[in-house]
Symmetry: D2
Subunit: 285 residues, 4 copies
């Protein structure tokens, strides 16, 4: 039994040098809608009825500031706080409150990434004007870590994630609901930063549409479309203007029976990144 | 005015070391149907009502033996013969007659590729049993040549092709009907062989389905899916067991007004192979 | 707490007047593969690694003979048997054993439909040769019943299904896993028979493909493609030669959090069958 | 030889009671972009680089005002004027000049529909902001007429259209370029009005997307998606707020060899409207 139980990936908060440029890219190129801005200049962006899936934070740096997990309810969040205290896991009550969400806790994972836990989010109008492609939800977050097994132990014991698949000791995927992965880890001892985060679209045809949309606006994919081994999902990757890597995915494997699912173990010397064949560029992994 | 006027790409004939292995691959993996075999062991394969789009010829070598253009009618073929004679272009009447087609002429292009001209083809049942993907037609043939402009001059003056696009002096596409290209040339002075040939499918969703079909049978794509600049078509490439390169394409640009169409000239230093971005492997071009 | 807990829809067994004609239709038009036949002439058909999703039973009648639920494991099946006995729910041990599955129980629902419970199924090769469309799985079964609420009570209390949505007292959908519905009921007091059963395909493009495939073989859709309100899934319907109604569906709503999901209640006077608009023929409902 | 030769369908001009409501619908629901408005309040709407595909004309009525054919060039337009004069076909030079197009001629077809002939159109930016679906072009216009054969004779002799297919004496399709039809006629002796006009989209997946887009905005399809017999195209139909019927289509048959194409003759008692099967509502035809 784990201490707490995340129920879904809520949002990712990015530090940004040029918030206007990023807001424009995320609304026009990623298909998000701007919900609102707060007094500190943070921009809240959504892709469905949830108030935000991405938060842009004005900064002198780029990269991930924190990311958030939804615990399912305010009661669950309070239970998580109590259980964390009981287990001696340090956390803070979020003081610099963001818009659109209730109280929050913050703790750090073994690599120092800031994880925010929330129990509720304001529901808003999901129809914010046409987009070439409007994602359905934030799907997962992939982090560079020191040690995948160490990360897996933390996320399993503290936050209730289950291991889905892994590749040797270099990559590991975990789920907190039937989506094959909500969080993933890639081994990169020299670095502690976001590898990418992913939005889910309805089906494969939307990946072509997004690729055409980027093309028509002088942007390009870094990799894809293709089909990942772990998760079986279709994928494509592109970068935002501040070099954050974004995945669009569809048709991810659903694992709803935790008692019968057996993690797949992939051999790094075999094909696993793209079962269709083509490999990514050198700077992808 | 050109001497003769091809109206469509008819078929490609491949020399093959292992005709059974190739026949199995083309029926099961490319989605063709075997129409019949002749006394010399040649296998005739189709993808629509035309008797053959691919002919496999038992041989001690691999690679292209010849390819064929359809002149539209027997009368057109006879007119072409007369016009070629009048112009002093050497050709032969085909003696080793293939099944499913009437009389044929054979001539050679500047690089020595054997071009067969036909005027009729037997129409057969296009429903030959389910396939994961059944292509709609043979779309084009791309040849490695000494000099793209020399090839273009020959195909324009002798066979009525029009130039669609080109990239510096390294690539050139020509059409004989509204499809953006039916024949294409890639500069490769050291070599005189087929670069690839292409089958058209209904739309982009069939490229995903074909990629999944190959994956499920332990084959992989070499490149794609993506979107070419010249022709605007979606593409993906894979190899047959004897290393011939096959393209599946969809949504190719239609050029029906030859009086207003302006060839696009691409700069080899700019993006043109894949407007979506990802580049092919080193052995693609 | 319910007595037992179904984990998925296993298969449907159809009585058939002309088993060869039906086997041909289900393999060629529905995209199934014939696994094997038993001594009594029953034909076992699959669409994935499970030994059968459809069983054809030679008979002097047509229509449903029984359908089967998978309990997840042999242990679960044994636990279900004990719990049913303890609760005084009558059942029989299946004596006329089918191939490819272990022991089974049989009980009857309030309308007399025979429900088979199984705990294991032989796993076989899911690649049985190309099909125009190979379904991914049997998705659900919809039955005509006397009283939807009475049926819902039985399936909830005895077999662990949860109510997903309903329309007045005329239609009701239940799930036993994240798929929005695995079983559904339509009120039809004068009749006690199968309304339809459904196969899931990968995405919407496969519905077009299947419609084209039927068209090319002189079959037609009864209804669709469209988009259902309850379940949000894309749909299309066609009949087999013995008039059984088959649905192909894609993109069905996933409900993985039973604690937060609220059933949607549809008004029969509002649009619910097809949110895209077009209505079905008079003999559809 | 015909008197003049249309090269493509240019635009349709609709009388409208509520120009703001229509402009909103055509931009938000049909995916067009507003190019500009003129002094008389007419709204020019585009879907590609052509200045307009639809013109909304403030009026006290609804329905078609006129539609326009592009002759390919100013020289062609002048040649058409001379040829019409020579043949004694009455026409007028357009005086109430529209924006974005050069000089124009106007003549009437046998049913009194006003046909505008143009020779040039201003090219503008085709990227006017994201749309759920941005059509590729205006595809065709279908008119209710007294006598399909009489209409066919006029469009053939005067404007160079060729007959593609027909159904008894009730429906007839004509082309002026490789698209199977650019103009079509439905027999309706009591009426002289537009039946519908059609926009082409990239492929079938865009029909699902458009249906979802309408659904999300409380609009519905009148009919489809399906597959027409004549033209083989996928289709779906919906109405604008003033009851004009709009078709979205994809994958229309390309006829590029007028010398070998044989018109298909459909029997009204056989299936032809939708080869997939489902019939339209009573008010569709």
């Amino acid at each position: 039994m784990s201490i707490a139980h995340a129920s879904s990936i809520s949002h990712v908060a990015l530090k940004t040098l040029d918030v206007e440029q990023q807001a424009k890219f995320y609304t026009q190129m990623v298909g998000l809608g701007e919900t609102e801005r707060d007094n500190s200049g943070r921009v809240y962006l959504r892709c469905n009825e949830n108030h935000h899936a991405v938060v842009l934070i004005p900064s002198t740096e780029t990269g991930i500031d924190h990311y958030a997990l939804h615990m399912g309810s305010t009661a669950n969040l309070e239970a998580a706080a109590a259980a964390l205290s009981h287990a001696g896991i340090p956390y803070e009550t979020e003081t610099n409150t963001k818009l659109g969400q209730g109280n929050a806790l913050r703790l750090r994972d073994p690599d120092g990434y800031v994880i925010e836990l929330i129990g509720e989010m304001t529901q808003v109008n999901p129809h914010y004007g046409p987009r070439a492609v409007q994602p359905r939800k934030l799907g997962h977050i992939t982090l560079l870590v020191q040690d995948c097994k160490q990360s897996a132990a933390f996320y399993s014991e503290v936050l209730g994630f289950r291991i889905s698949d892994w590749v040797d000791d270099i990559f590991l995927w975990m789920r907190c609901n039937p989506d094959h992965h909500g969080i993933a880890f890639a081994k990169a001892p020299a670095d502690s930063k976001l590898h990418h985060f992913a939005f889910e679209v309805k089906d494969f045809s939307y990946l072509a549409r997004q690729a055409d949309h980027l093309m028509n606006n002088n942007h390009t994919l870094l990799y894809g479309p293709g089909r990942h081994g772990p998760g079986e999902n279709h994928f494509e990757y592109f970068r935002d203007p501040e070099n954050n890597l974004i995945e669009f995915l569809s048709n991810i494997q659903q694992i709803w029976d935790d008692t019968t699912y057996e993690p797949k173990i992939w051999d790094s010397r075999q094909r696993w990144v793209n079962l269709w064949g083509p490999e990514g560029p050198a700077d992808f992994l």
